[in-house]
């Protein structure tokens, strides 16, 4: 439970008064990342449901998008912006890492975030009624699972930093437990859930390999960026997959 609360504290703005006592507690809390993602998705789905009778699908979709950003404190979007600035700059490996650590934003970060937000809005808007709960939960769970896979499966770019604090204590057991949780969270999505799991795996592997080539490994910014990309990909892929492979459980 303590471990879950640590994960919730890190991945959301929930005011949880727990402090990690041992260094490796942070890494071990990664096993709960998909559960926290599913919980965040459920919160968004609940608000979406509350708003259904009183407002339009466009406004509900913007509210869901904003809620995802607010509930996470913009953590992953911030990582995405830093990662775009660093990865796509014409610079050496060291300089790329410096750019990522710089708190100011450049054109690539800006454009990357703007396009991601537009994609997410359009994708959330396109989630059909009745399937939105399953969709939001799948988005939240799989995107946070991809962070665990990225952390465990790829080397760290730097020996220090928050990303490394997680990396040092997270291993195969964390990934295994996180995978079981994400499969449970994807179960309501049916066969389409299995396909998006494969998509999330492939995207994370591609991004991990690309970043490893450019900066020698991953860091916290990359984990956040991967989570954003996977979240959007899940939202885009689910509706056509449901049409193809059968609808999810309807709530």
């Amino acid at each position: 439970m303590r471990s879950f609360l640590l994960a919730l504290q890190f991945l959301s703005i929930a005011p949880i008064p727990v402090r990690p006592v041992a260094e490796d507690e942070l890494g071990r809390s990664m096993r709960w990342f998909p559960a926290v993602g599913a919980l965040l998705g459920a919160c968004v789905a609940f608000v979406d449901w509350l708003l259904t009778p009183i407002t339009t699908p466009e406004i509900r979709s913007v509210v869901a998008l904003a809620l995802l950003a607010v509930l996470t404190g913009g953590l992953h979007l911030d990582g995405l912006m830093d990662a775009c600035d660093g990865l796509f700059a014409l610079a050496s490996r060291e300089r790329r890492l410096e750019i990522m650590a710089d708190s100011r934003v450049g054109s690539f970060g800006l454009v990357g975030a703007a396009v991601t937000i537009l994609l997410k809005y359009a994708a959330i808007l396109a989630l059909p009624m009745g399937t939105r709960v399953a969709g939001f939960i799948a988005m939240g769970a799989l995107s946070r699972w991809s962070m665990v896979y990225a952390t465990v499966g790829f080397p760290a770019a730097r020996p220090e930093g928050l990303g490394q604090a997680y990396k040092s204590a997270a291993g195969r057991p964390e990934l295994a437990i996180a995978t079981v949780i994400v499969i449970l969270a994807l179960a309501p999505s049916g066969a389409a859930g299995a396909v998006v799991l494969a998509i999330g795996l492939a995207l994370t592997a591609l991004a991990g390999r690309y970043a490893s080539q450019r900066i020698g490994g991953l860091n916290g910014d990359l984990y956040g960026a991967i989570s954003e990309v996977v979240e959007v990909a899940v939202a885009i892929a689910l509706p056509p997959l449901w049409r193809l492979l059968g609808s999810p459980l309807v709530f």
């Binding site: 710089d102 450049g106 054109s107 800006l110 454009v111 396009v115 537009l118 359009a122 885009i236 509706p239």
Partner: protein, 250 residues
């Protein structure tokens, strides 16, 4: 560089698509690839039309529009959008030419540059999503084609603003009158083939935007820079998207 090598050099400059060989971007010979810019624009257009046709049966129209936008950003490496941000940063800086040119070089986006990029992306998104079905292929083909043709014409028509031998300085050298006529002629032929007189009107609109931006910029800096050419590309593309439903209707 009339042979096909010029096309691949232009491809290397304007996109992140794989090119069979690489040229040093600082080498003066890359300038002679300028007249291939419209051809690269046409290729990007074909890519967008193909993607649109594949994605539309499966995905919601808003998602397709956002994906087309993402595809353009990914394929071009946000090259021209970066130019727009830097142009706004530079033109709104000052006082004095030196300060403006220095501000364009800053890697960090200013609030106004950031604002410009956000509004442009939102406008692109809305315009692509609103393209009616019958005119979509022609509009998506003309959009990148007209944008890059306007860039070629701008290199031919306006002075270059920096003293150093940058990539843009080489392109300015390479954009000779015959090169510009060839490139613009190619673009006009394609626009006419897919959109008739309306297609030509879209190309004319892109040139009007180019001239407007150049006029504004030349009041503040002595010549255009690579960033301004990026801004010309982005804004003329947006104008083409806005006008396409009207121009291509017949």
């Amino acid at each position: 560089m009339l042979r096909l090598t010029g096309f691949f050099v232009a491809l290397q400059i304007l996109t992140r698509l794989p090119s069979p060989f690489r040229r040093n971007a600082q080498s003066p010979e890359v300038g002679s690839a300028a007249w291939w810019f419209p051809a690269v624009g046409g290729l990007l257009g074909v890519l967008l039309v193909g993607f649109d046709a594949l994605a539309r049966p499966w995905l919601d129209s808003g998602v397709v529009a956002a994906l087309i936008l993402a595809l353009m950003v990914a394929v071009t490496g946000a090259f021209h959008l970066d130019g727009l941000v830097d142009s706004v940063d530079g033109l709104t800086a000052g006082p004095g030419t030196t300060a403006r040119l220095a501000a364009m070089r800053q890697a960090v986006a200013s609030p106004l540059g950031a604002l410009a990029a956000c509004i442009l992306l939102l406008a692109d998104f809305v315009a692509i999503a609103a393209l009616p079905h019958p005119v979509r292929p022609a509009a998506l083909l003309c959009m990148p084609l007209c944008g890059r043709t306007a860039v070629l014409a701008a290199y031919r028509l306006y002075p270059y603003g920096r003293p150093e031998a940058t990539l843009s300085a080489h392109l300015k050298q390479g954009a000779t009158t015959p090169a510009a006529i060839l490139g613009v002629g190619f673009a006009a032929a394609v626009c006419f083939a897919v959109g008739g007189v309306g297609g030509l009107a879209l190309l004319g609109l892109a040139f009007a935007l180019m001239h407007g931006i150049a006029t504004v910029a030349l009041r503040r800096i002595p010549g255009l820079t690579g960033d301004l050419h990026g801004a010309i590309c982005e804004l003329s593309q947006l104008a083409v998207l806005f006008a396409a439903p009207l121009a291509l209707r017949g």
